[in-house]
Symmetry: C2
Amino acid sequence: MNKEIKNIAIIGTGVIGNGWIARFIAKGYNVTAFDLAEGAEERTRAMLNRVWPSLKELGISDIASQDNLSFVTTLEEAVATADYVQENVPEREELKKSVLQSIDANTNPNVIIGSSTSGIMPSTLQDGLKNPERLIVAHPFNPVYILPLVEIVGGEKTSKETIERADALLTAIAMKPLIVTKEIEGHIADRLMEALWREALHLVNDGIATTEEVDKAIIYGAGLRWAQMGPFMTFHLAGGDAGMRHMLEQFGPALKLPWTKLEAPELTDELKERVITGSEKSAGNLSVAELEEKRNEFLVKQLELVADYWPVFSNKSE
Amino acid sequence: MNKEIKNIAIIGTGVIGNGWIARFIAKGYNVTAFDLAEGAEERTRAMLNRVWPSLKELGISDIASQDNLSFVTTLEEAVATADYVQENVPEREELKKSVLQSIDANTNPNVIIGSSTSGIMPSTLQDGLKNPERLIVAHPFNPVYILPLVEIVGGEKTSKETIERADALLTAIAMKPLIVTKEIEGHIADRLMEALWREALHLVNDGIATTEEVDKAIIYGAGLRWAQMGPFMTFHLAGGDAGMRHMLEQFGPALKLPWTKLEAPELTDELKERVITGSEKSAGNLSVAELEEKRNEFLVKQLELVADYWPVFSNKSE
């Protein structure tokens, strides 16, 4: 439980807003929600009931209660007593800016304002706020109440203190904040996901694979590894004892082959060094052999787990 | 255990060749291996000892024994009694073609020849074989003895019967064959992985993120989902009750935003229909709500599992 922040305002209760509500409520915070849509409160409370067992298994606070959620009928009311406000309105720049300006006008300057935008840069959103230094992008991933990743992005005018306080709050609700130091559209995670998504669409568009085949190509292969390691550590282990250094020597030349519709960057010595030293840093004091042993134990258990919870293709997974 | 195929020849015992050996031995097959490299047999037997516990937990055959592996000193000897030959020499077209021609010249026409090539098209590899109809690409994923995915790709001259027999054999060793019906460089899975990999390299190259940040952006977010669902089913669940149909309406326009270095395809009505009907087919008779419930149960258990086997960032994952 975060020390200074107790009251949360959630503006916009779609899939993402509801995900934030479930996570904050499970961790014992008071949440005041506002959404113009007909039947919004009913949908949110139904969702909370539905996911409560998952929240409990993940670990909820002793003081967590669905009664700590209240819906109000105006934005002003919603943010009046808030220590932290999270905006989750549809991804339209002008709409988000006007909503953020109303939040800005109706809260004390020390109240942090987070936006769930997946693509708009914080400098754009904070333009026009009277207290822009407390605006951040806090971009979560669906399902927000389970996935730990949240990207924290500050704009040109965002204060260092705001980033630190947001980092502390989001860590307190069991998230893994990734502080993005350079503003770009799509931040980091969505750029990676989008690259895979676009290539998948090309494969389907070109008649190379069906959507089911694309999904199987990920599920049975790289997907199992990416749950534990990202692309760099995965390749670090593919390089044998010399790790990424050997991997880049061996597969670097293939980088320019016409695989994917995405142009590869020039594999300069500087880029090589960044990738190699970065991977070695992530490996810490673990050798590739030691990493492989952990990976294998993990993958074996995970395959058993996947077999139990296969959502699709289940007839084919026996 | 496959009925007609008992004896396997593995040509080239690097990381991939050794992975094939471990998988075939664990499933009770006889394997004859050949590799020119100094100390190859010692490395392979050390690997087998190292991964045996994982193989046992995955389930080995009653007749499985490390004694069913023998190394020989010539390719001719290795393939002499083989029912199936898997080639795993370095990814150089001329080298692979000459090795495949020697295998072709020294085996009966009914022996299936598989190549582990990750990028070269089978029509290229079978060109020059006297029995090209029995040549396939059988592209596995590291670690081969654990990951179930294998891409089976036939060339212009590959017979339907060869594909069917290879499918049966690889299914018998607990793999999930993905039969790729159109030849393209990188097949399907590597095109998807390469798109993510290239975007990751761009992010590091442009100084947007470190390799550790890229890995975290995948591990804590999409990676957890991709282990259970590919990109299409993941987005099917992001679309609410209307699934992919709603998702494409809502996020389709954002497809052209300057996220990633990869150009998006035109979202034509035909492409939309393929994606929507494909996703709905994969969902089978499960509603999005039902899929969400399975996903949540899976993700909760998986987070617990990941916490136990975190290979890196472990200090940060508490």
